[in-house]
């Protein structure tokens, strides 16, 4: 790709040199175009370098240098193109030249401007890609930072096992001290080989996170206890609410029963009266007898 670009650049350079040699008969030349071509190549180089960053050996310094160089080149190119534009306009305005030359010069200027725009766009893409990579690295670093931040003393001795593990399983996120505690079993067979500094360093790396985890687990257990007690309090409150609501229900039932009692007693009184009224036969018999006699009288009077 770089070859093609340089090839295009060289052919373009020939054309512009031809044009500038033509225009040089009228005004000055444009040496900045060569710089433009080299900047294009450099931009491609930065893109390639930014793509191949890894966690630990990223060429930050190189990238920053290249970025600075490219920025300078682009600003210089911009200034040059603006000058060219001005000169072109002044040339069109001042002397009377054939329309072919003017169109030719304007198209050349436009072409240069487009090329510059394309180069800046690519540069921007490369920069965004670099920032994304940086973000990914940062997030990965944070995954392992619980241990990395607590051992300022042995960062270097730690980094290599960490780099190996991170390249092996970058997707898992249990903190590395869990992994380290399993690596302490080689302590025993290594005891025979005896006393190099490596087991001590591993042990020490394991020690601080273990203390921490002990404290953390204690704190967590206490938190759990506290939240459980809180929930229990809530449950008790709810229980009290429900019981009070049901107490009101009980009162209603009591009222209903009292009403029922009153009604039934009243009804019973009425029925007793009725019973008394019915059970005293004599009064009724006298009334019936009188009614019968009255009918008999009327019947006898009308028939006889």
């Amino acid at each position: 790709m770089m070859n093609v670009k340089s090839g295009q650049g060289s052919s373009y350079r020939e054309r512009t040199q031809e044009f500038s040699s033509i225009a040089e008969r009228l005004r000055k030349s444009f040496p900045s175009l060569n710089a433009g071509v080299s900047a294009n190549n450099v931009g491609v180089g930065v893109g390639a370098v930014a793509k191949r960053t890894s966690v630990f050996d990223d060429p930050t310094v190189e990238i920053q240098e290249l970025t600075a160089v490219i920025k300078q080149d682009i600003t210089a190119l911009n200034a040059a193109v603006v000058d060219l534009q001005l000169v072109c306009n002044s040339q069109n305005g001042s002397e009377s030249i054939s329309s072919d030359t003017t169109t030719h010069s304007t198209t050349v200027v436009d072409n240069l401007k487009n090329r510059l725009m394309g180069a800046t766009k690519e540069f921007k893409e490369v920069l965004t890609m670099r920032t994304e990579n940086l973000k990914v690295h940062e997030s990965r670093r944070q995954l392992f930072s619980t241990s990395a931040s607590k051992e300022p003393a042995n960062p270097f001795a730690r980094q290599h096992p960490l780099a190996n593990r991170s390249t092996a399983n970058a997707s898992t996120s249990p903190p590395p001290w869990v992994k380290n505690s399993s690596s302490s079993s080689p302590l025993f067979p290594r005891k025979q080989a005896d006393g190099e500094s490596q087991p001590l360093i591993q042990q020490q790396q394991q020690m601080v996170p273990l203390q921490d985890s002990y404290m953390q687990s204690r704190a967590e257990a206490l938190h759990n206890v506290e939240s459980t007690i809180h929930e229990l309090g809530n449950i008790f409150t709810q229980l009290a609410t429900m019981v009070s609501q049901q107490g009101e229900l009980a009162i209603r039932i009591d009222e209903n029963m009292e009403d029922t009692l009153a009604n039934v007693e009243g009804a019973q009184g009425q029925l007793m009266r009725y019973l008394n009224g019915i059970s005293s036969n004599r009064w009724l018999m006298i009334k019936i007898f009188f009614v019968l006699i009255a009918f008999l009288m009327i019947f006898l009077f009308f028939v006889a």
């Binding site: 505690s181 399993s182 302490s184 079993s185 302590l187 025993f188 005891k191 042990q203 020490q204 394991q206 020690m207 273990l210 203390q211 002990y214 687990s217 204690r218 257990a221 206490l222 759990n224 206890v225 459980t228 007690i229 929930e231 229990l232 449950i235 008790f236 709810q238 229980l239 429900m242 019981v243 609501q245 049901q246 229900l249 009980a250 209603r252 039932i253 209903n256 029963m257 009403d259 029922t260 009692l261 009604n263 039934v264 009243g266 009804a267 009425q270 029925l271 009266r273 009725y274 009224g277 009724l284 009334k287």
Partner: protein, 200 residues
């Protein structure tokens, strides 16, 4: 959830010489009869190694085959526990703490002068070994958490029964209101029957 052994050792602060055993309690009943003595030796050896490699005022847990060895070194007095993998780590260390406190209370500072392995048995350690097979005994936090969980379950059951009681009370309310209406009708009927036939 088994504790296999509890040891108390005296460590040198520089970790150069082998630690001296001050008390030893082991439970090797689940090994065969002929393996028991070798297992005891093995425990002593492993205990010495781990205690030697535990820096002062540090806790450490080492995985060895199917056991975990936990050690807690405090000012040169080191307590070790040989446990299964299931035993929660935190309660182990609270247990070791307790053991160390007991030892300090019982023997004062006399352990500092000891240079050879003590062979006398310390009954507290044996009793601790049997008592703390259940991690809840050793760790107050675990015990509290367990009791709280039980209480929560009981409370849930209580709330369920209270809800049932609420439903029953609801049905009772309905029935009593029906009764009250019916008795009212009854009263009216009775009054009507009475009003009507007084002439007759």
């Amino acid at each position: 959830m088994k504790i296999t052994a509890l040891l108390v050792l005296k460590c040198n602060p520089d970790g150069s010489s082998d630690p001296v055993i001050l008390a030893n309690a082991t439970d090797v009943s689940h090994f065969g009869y002929f393996q028991r003595s070798s297992v005891k030796e093995f425990i002593v050896f492993v205990g010495r190694t781990v205690a030697k490699r535990t820096p002062p005022s540090q806790r450490q847990s080492v995985q060895h085959e199917e056991y975990k060895v936990h050690s807690y070194n405090r000012n040169g007095l080191c307590a070790l526990g040989f446990m299964d993998d299931d035993y929660p780590v935190r309660s182990v260390f609270s247990l070791l703490n307790q053991v160390l406190d007991e030892y300090q209370k019982n023997f004062g500072d006399s352990w500092k002068a000891v240079q050879t392995d003590c062979s006398q048995a310390w009954p507290y350690l044996d009793e601790a070994l049997t008592r703390f097979q259940d991690p809840a005994q050793a760790d107050k936090l675990l015990k509290i958490q367990r009791e709280l969980d039980e209480t929560k379950i009981i409370l849930h059951k209580t709330i369920d029964s209270v809800l049932e009681r609420g439903e029953k009370l609801d049905s009772l309310v309905e029935k009593s209101s029906d009764l009250s209406t019916a008795s009212q009708m009854f009263y009216k009927q009775a009054k009507k029957t009475n009003q009507c036939c007084t002439i007759l």
